[in-house]
Symmetry: C2
Subunit: 228 residues, 2 copies
Amino acid sequence: MSPQANSQLHQSDVARSSGKSGMSEAVRLFGMPELGAAGMPAERNSEIYGESEPADYVYKVVSGTVRTYRVLSDGRRQISGFHVAGDVFGFELGAEHSDSAEAIVDCNIMFVRRSTLLAASQRNHEIARVLLTMTGHELQRARDHSLLLIKSAHERVASFLLEMAQRLSSKSEIELPMSRQDIADYLGLTIETVSRTLTQLQGEAAIKLLGSRRIVVRNPSALTELDD
Amino acid sequence: MSPQANSQLHQSDVARSSGKSGMSEAVRLFGMPELGAAGMPAERNSEIYGESEPADYVYKVVSGTVRTYRVLSDGRRQISGFHVAGDVFGFELGAEHSDSAEAIVDCNIMFVRRSTLLAASQRNHEIARVLLTMTGHELQRARDHSLLLIKSAHERVASFLLEMAQRLSSKSEIELPMSRQDIADYLGLTIETVSRTLTQLQGEAAIKLLGSRRIVVRNPSALTELDD
DNA sequence: CGTCAAGTTGAGGTTCCTCAACGCGGGTGG
DNA sequence: CCACCCGCGTTGAGGAACCTCAACTTGACG
């Protein structure tokens, strides 16, 4: 599925994204009238773009959560990142996407043409700077993810919970939009190991499970010790 | 160790870097007179910059091989990349380096001030474009590295050999500049597992070991099958 | 020829995966 | 309204992959 001209949301609807600290530059970027950003809904589990499709658009999450992932020939899937409101995804340097993107829950998405963005960056230094900063942030996240993958299962789950607590909740209670399978594929573990580890963390009084997707961080320092 | 004004190599000495396909843009970048690139030697195992030091310089390998890495609090080390002649490293968006860099063998290194580079990119669209492309390449490599880390030991070692064969040799014979410990820390394995896996690959007639650092790829397709 | 770092090999242990059964909850149809 | 079903999650038992610890080998260099 590629974005069509039938943008079913008005810009005014999608412009009030949450835009957490740090990434607010990307919010401004999509708000620039010269880029002609449009909006569209993406329903749960629908594909936004696929690996090796032409990378003609760059996307921003307005609401909901998106996963980007790559699959190996034998079907193993690695989720390279979760993208929440305010996050930009799908920006590539090559002509084709190197990963796929799917909505985890019903989402609202904005998009701009990549060619428009690149052309604008030739004229506008500010846009060029934001593009570089965005790519640099992605690089940072990719490296953090690599570092995550050399840790033990306990440490990976703890790091994941801290990351999610920081990114999608202000309080200590986390509402996870993704399934155990998504978490497992992000952490390079199996769903059973993720489940067992969460149970263990609860046993250590580090967290409390309120239903499978609601988690309270009870003892953040216990998680932080596992994180670094 | 930070680069000093005492550039002990003339530009003419260091300008003839090998500059393999693709990354040749970076070569041109360091050749631009307005950037005032300078050169320096870096001897085997010496630090080029350290984690959380100010990221005042951007570097390019002229000759030799460099490792960049991060360490966890308990001493585990992850090598995020090996950098050979023509590769750029040490470019950060933040004020501080997020990894460390060391020369694996005696190297010649060029460097430019980051502030000079960023200032130049404001005036020169070509430089801005090269910076973005460079960062994008790094992003691609970081993601490939993440994907590597979810594979089995066999697959990781095979992928590593293919990567090295492609990057630092034209023939099928590879001369590895790095130790087993470096390889292990790059692949998220132990030296024993790396050693055993190489022995096994030799047993499967996929490779031939000529001394610990010289390897002949005997059956590339056997490695490629493990790679994707 | 001796020394020392680097690499290899072996034995045993730990972590995580695999396969399987069971539990829970939300939706649908009788 | 209840019963059933089905996807999702949890728990258990056993096995495979990789790690740890230790001994031995190799090769480079004085």
